[in-house]
């Protein structure tokens, strides 16, 4: 059984916002709602600037799910956290609970009216008939039901953003870290070097000029 996850490699992200645009386009996300965004730290500082693409992380123990007063969240067999917009009351508890700021609320009216929550669906739609118009209008495209991966990850030009089964993308990331000899600090020992003893010596860094 897969556990669908995103993994963003801060060493590779170039803040192009291609993932944001891909998400907006693929799901026809309304104005003012950002299911995915790129966060940059140390902006403009040479050598210290890092960017990371953030959306719903489809937590294994999701806090949004825990706090929802109407229990509109569910987790699919592939570990994707989704919600039923017919039940959502737009209270905003999930927004306060989420450490990533993933839940978004359309501001439809002139008086700050808060609509029903909208968030990244891992391009897996929602509880409507798969690949139907109703599903697309409410939740966006269901790419998993089309045998595809999320548009943001597949569109990423530098392959900084990886999407898919946690084990598979961790393997991809691990191979990358071992080849370039750095980046383990971003996602921790297990993801970067595989199951091993924390504190053990990391692999030797590649000589300068080597291809990363």
């Amino acid at each position: 059984m897969a556990r669908m996850k995103f993994l963003c490699d801060a060493e590779r992200c170039i803040e192009c916002n291609g993932c944001v645009t891909a998400c907006k386009n693929e799901n026809e996300v309304p104005w003012g709602v950002n299911r995915r965004r790129v966060v940059t730290i140390n902006d403009g500082v040479i050598g210290a600037e890092k960017s990371i693409s953030v959306a719903c992380m489809h937590c294994s123990d999701a806090p949004c799910m825990a706090v929802c007063p109407v229990d509109c969240f569910y987790r699919t067999d592939d570990g994707v956290v989704l919600h039923d917009k017919d039940l959502c009351i737009g209270c905003g508890y999930c927004f306060y609970a989420c450490p990533f700021g993933a839940p978004q609320f359309p501001q439809a009216g002139a008086f700050g009216l808060r609509g029903k929550m909208d968030k990244c669906t891992f391009c897996n739609g929602g509880p409507e008939t798969d690949r139907s118009d109703a599903e697309f209008k409410k939740y966006g495209r269901n790419r998993l039901a089309e045998g595809k991966l999320p548009a943001c990850a597949e569109m990423c030009s530098t392959k900084a953003l990886l999407g898919g089964d946690g084990d598979v993308i961790a393997d991809i990331y691990r191979e990358r870290v071992l080849r370039r000899g750095k980046g383990s600090e971003v996602w921790g020992w297990g993801t970067a070097y595989g199951p091993g003893k924390p504190g053990a010596t990391p692999p030797q860094q590649q000589p300068a000029g080597a291809k990363s």
Binding site: C68, Y74, D86, G125, P127, G147, G164, D165, R176
Partner: protein, 84 residues
């Protein structure tokens, strides 16, 4: 001291001491259960037409869908995708 005063004093003492009780003040949360509509399964859909690049799997067969998704995931690894 009169008995009535003693009773009042005892009642006041009991009331004050009640504040020192260690009653459980933590809410016991009840695990919620999803109340919405049932969602379909991705592998219960027929694959797209060949021109739409969705890959192929057998409708209703989870293993074949997972194999298709896994092969798609591996295309994100440029070390495997491009000959070195």
């Amino acid at each position: 001291m009169r008995p009535a005063a003693l009773v009042v004093a005892a009642a006041v003492a009991a009331l004050c001491l009640a504040g020192c009780g260690e009653t459980e003040q933590v809410v016991v949360y009840k695990q919620g259960k999803y109340q919405g509509k049932k969602d379909g399964l991705p592998w219960d859909n027929a694959p797209l037409a060949a021109g739409q690049r969705g890959g192929s799997w057998t409708k209703g067969d989870r293993a074949s869908w997972e194999a298709q998704i896994k092969s798609r995931q591996l295309t994100q690894n440029e070390y495997k995708r491009i000959s070195q």
